[in-house]
Amino acid sequence: MDNFIAARSQMALSLGFHIIFSCIGMVMPFFMAVSHFIYLKTGNTLYKNITRAWSKGVAIFFATGAVSGTVLSFELGLLWPAFMEKAGPIFGMPFSLEGTAFFIEAIALGFYLYGWDKFNKWFVWATGVVVGISGLLSGILVVAANAWMNNPKGFDFINGEYINIDPIKAMFNDAWFSQALHMCIAAFAATGFAVAGVHAFMVYRKKNIRFHAAAFKIAATFAAVAAILQPLSGDISAKNVARLQPAKLAAMEAVLKTEAAAPLIIGGIPDTATGQVNYAIRLPGLLSFMAYGDMHHPVKGYDQIPKEEQPPVMVTHFSFQIMVALGIFMLLIAVLYLIIILKKKSWQNKTWLLRLFMLATPMGFIAVEAGWTVTEVGRQPWIIYGIMKTRDAVTPMPGIPYTFYLFTAVYISLSAIVVFMLYRQIKMVGKLYDNSDNEALTFSHDLH
C-alpha cells in the first residue's frame, strides 16, 4: 500500500467512524427532549426512565464522537498539510464558529447529565434542547466546510496564489445549503431507524414491552418524517451537483457517453474502456429530466472529461445506487408507518411491522456512509475542486500505511466496545428502568 492510498484510507476511515457518532450525538438529544417533555407534562415515570436510559447511551456516544472529532482536527494536518496550509484560512470560518457550538454543547451536556435532580426541571430540559440545537449547528457548519471543497469560493486563484481571501463568502458557497440540509435530514433518518430498530427488536423479543414500545414510537416518528423529506432534499442535491460538478454527476450516474436525452441508469457494471454500462436498466431521458428539469438537456459524460480528471466511476456509481435504493426503501416504510399511526392503529404491534423496522436498523447509516463516499470519491482527483489535486496535498511523512493499520485496529476495537456497552445498557433496562416484567423484584436503584 503506498503512502497516498494509505492517507486517503485513513481519512475515510476516521470520517466514516466519526460521522456515526456525530449523527447520533446531534439527533438523540431531540428524542430525549421529546420523551423528557412528555414526562414533565404527564408525570408518567415510564418516560422519565426512557429519558434516563437514552441519556446514558448519549453520553457514551458523545464521548466517542468528541474524541474521534478531536482526532480529525489533527488528522487534517497530519495527512494533508499542503491542503490545510492553503485552505485553512479560506474554509476555516465554519470551523471557528463550530468551536463555539461544540463548547456550548459540552457545557449544556454537563448540566443535562449531572444536573438532573439538582436544578429546576425545566432548566434541565432546556439544556437538553440546547445540546441538540448546538449539535445540529455544528453539523451544518462542518458540512459547509466540506461543501467549500466541492465548490471553492471566496478567493481568487491567480498564478498558483490564493488572494483576496474572503472567509465569509467561502462559507456561503453554492453547495453548503443543499449539503447541510441533506446531511441534517440524513442524521435524523439514520439515527431514527437505528434506535427504532433496536427497540422494535426488544418488543419482538417481548422484553419490557411497555418501555420499548414507547421508546420505539418516538424514534420511529422522527425517522418516518425524515425519511419522507430525504428524497426531496436529495433531488435538490443532485440538481446542485449537476450544476457545480458535472464530473461527479457523470460518475454517480455512470454516464460514460455524453447524450442529449440521457437515460437514468439503474444497476449495471460501467466499463470505461468500452464506454458501455453492461447489464443495466435504462429509463430514457429521465436523468436529463432529474438533473436539469428537461428531458432533452444534454448530460456531460466521461468522453468529454479529460482522463486525468475522471473520478472513479465504479465506487461512485455503486455508492450512489446503494444510497438511493436504501432511501427509497426507508421512504416506503415511513409512509406505511405514518398511515398506521394516523389511520390503522390496530397494526401498530403487528410482528411484521416490527420485523420491517428491525430490518431497517442499519440502513440509514449505510446510506450515510454511501452518501459520503459519493461526495468524496466523486470529487476525485481533486481535494479542492478544480484547484488542488489530492495527490499534491498528501504529507511527505513516510510509513503512513502503519498508522493506517494502527487506526484501523483502534477503531475496530472501539466499535466493538461501544456495541458491547450498548448491549449491556439494553440488557439492564429491566433492572434499572422498567421492572414491570418482574414485579416481584422490588428494585430501587439510584438512577445516577
Binding site: L109, I165, D166, L414, Q425, K427
Partner: protein, 338 residues
C-alpha cells in the same frame, strides 16, 4: 485583530494547561495511588471534574482551530514534523476520553472496570507527556520545513533529552495541579492528608523535572537561562512563582487549603507566561536558524478579522455559561459535603 487572535490562542493554551492539566493529573494520581485507596480517589475525582471534563478538553480544539485558520503555515509545519508524537498523543486522547466515559456509564459493573481504569490511568500519563514533548520541540531548533532524513527530521526532532524532560515536567505539573485541586474536594481528614502528601510529592517531582529540563538545555546548547533572565517579564514571573512556592509549602504544612488552588494556578501561569513571553512572536525555531512567527506567518486577507470576531462573539456565549456551570456545581458539591 491579530493581537485578539493571539490572545485567544494563549488563553486557550493556558486554560488547557490548567483545566485539562488538572484532568490528566487526576488520572496520573490514580495511577500512583495504592489499590485500596484507588476507589476513593476516583470518586473524589468524579465529583470534581465530572460535569466539566468534556469542556476542559475543548480548549485544545480551540487552540488547534486558531492555529490552522489563523497561522496555517505553523500548523502545517508542526503537524508534518511532529507526526509521530502527535499520533501517539491522539491515541492517548482517544483511549482516555472513551475509557472515562465507559467506566462511568457502563450499565454493568464488573471486571471490565479494571480494563477501563488501566486504560484511563496510563493514557492520562502518556497524553501530557507527549504534549510536553511537542511543546519542547518548538524551541529545540530541530524542526525543518523540508524534511529529508526520516530519523533526523521525524524522530530526533522530538526524541531528545530536552523534549523528554519538558514532557516529564508537564506530567509533574499536571499531577501537582490535580492534587492541589483535589485537597479541597476530599471527604474526611484522612483523604485530605493523603492529597496533601500527593501534592508535596508532585511538587518535588516537578522540581526535579524542572532541573532535568535545565540540564538537558545545557547539554543541547539551548540558552534557556539567557532567555528567561534576559528580560524583566521572565525575571518577575519566575521570582513570583518561586515566592508563591514558599507560601504554598507553608500553607500545605499548616493544612490551610482554601487558597491553594489559586496559588498553584498562579505558579503554572507564571511559568507559561515566562516561557511564552521570551519567544513571542517566534513560536517555532527552525533547524536552519530561521523561525515561524505569529506576527509574520499569519493568514492574509479578511481571515484574521473574521476569526477574531468569531472568537469574541463565541466567548460572549461560552464564558458566562462555563462560569455558571462551574459555579453551580461547586455550590452543590459543597452542599453535599456539608
Amino acid at each position: 485583530m491579530l493581537y485578539v487572535v493571539i490572545t485567544f490562542l494563549w488563553v486557550s493554551l493556558w486554560f488547557y494547561l490548567l483545566f485539562g492539566g488538572a484532568d490528566f493529573g487526576a488520572g496520573i494520581l490514580e495511577l500512583f495511588t495504592r489499590a485500596h485507596n484507588k476507589d476513593r480517589t476516583r470518586r473524589t475525582m468524579y465529583r470534581a471534574i465530572g460535569p466539566i471534563w468534556e469542556a476542559n478538553h475543548m480548549w485544545l480544539i480551540i487552540a488547534i482551530v486558531i492555529l490552522f485558520v489563523g497561522f496555517p503555515k505553523i500548523y502545517a509545519t508542526m503537524s508534518t514534523a511532529m507526526h509521530i508524537p502527535l499520533i501517539i498523543m491522539l491515541l492517548g486522547i482517544i483511549a482516555r476520553g472513551t475509557a472515562f466515559a465507559f467506566r462511568h456509564y457502563d450499565a454493568v459493573v464488573d471486571d471490565m472496570q479494571q480494563v477501563y481504569n488501566r486504560i484511563f490511568t496510563w493514557s492520562s500519563l502518556i497524553t501530557p507527556l507527549f504534549l510536553g514533548i511537542i511543546a519542547g520541540s518548538t524551541v529545540t531548533g530541530k524542526i525543518t520545513q523540508q524534511p529529508k532524513d526520516f530519523l533526523e527530521d521525524y524522530v530526533f526532532s522530538w526524541l531528545n533529552w530536552f523534549c523528554v524532560a519538558v514532557g516529564c515536567f508537564t506530567v509533574a505539573i499536571a499531577a501537582f495541579l490535580a492534587a492541589v485541586f483535589l485537597i479541597g474536594e476530599a471527604q474526611g481528614e484522612k483523604d485530605k492528608r493523603r492529597f496533601i502528601a500527593k501534592a508535596k510529592t508532585a511538587n518535588i517531582a516537578a522540581f526535579i523535572a524542572g532541573a532535568l529540563v535545565f540540564f538537558a538545555s545545557l547539554y543541547q546548547h539551548i540558552p534557556l537561562l539567557d532567555w528567561i533572565f534576559a528580560n524583566p517579564v521572565g525575571i518577575i514571573s519566575i521570582t513570583a512563582a518561586s515566592l508563591s512556592l514558599i507560601l504554598l509549602w507553608y500553607l500545605l504544612s499548616k493544612g490551610k487549603v482554601k487558597i491553594l488552588p489559586v496559588l498553584a494556578g498562579f505558579q503554572v501561569t507564571m511559568i507559561l507566561l515566562s516561557v511564552t513571553y521570551i519567544h513571542f512572536p517566534k513560536i517555532v525555531l527552525l533547524k536552519d536558524g530561521g523561525y515561524l512567527s505569529l506576527l509574520e506567518h499569519e493568514a492574509t486577507g479578511k481571515t484574521i478579522d473574521a476569526l477574531g470576531a468569531a472568537l469574541l462573539i463565541g466567548s460572549l456565549f461560552i464564558l458566562p455559561a462555563l462560569f455558571y456551570l462551574l459555579y453551580s456545581f461547586r455550590k452543590s458539591a459543597n452542599r453535599t459535603k456539608a
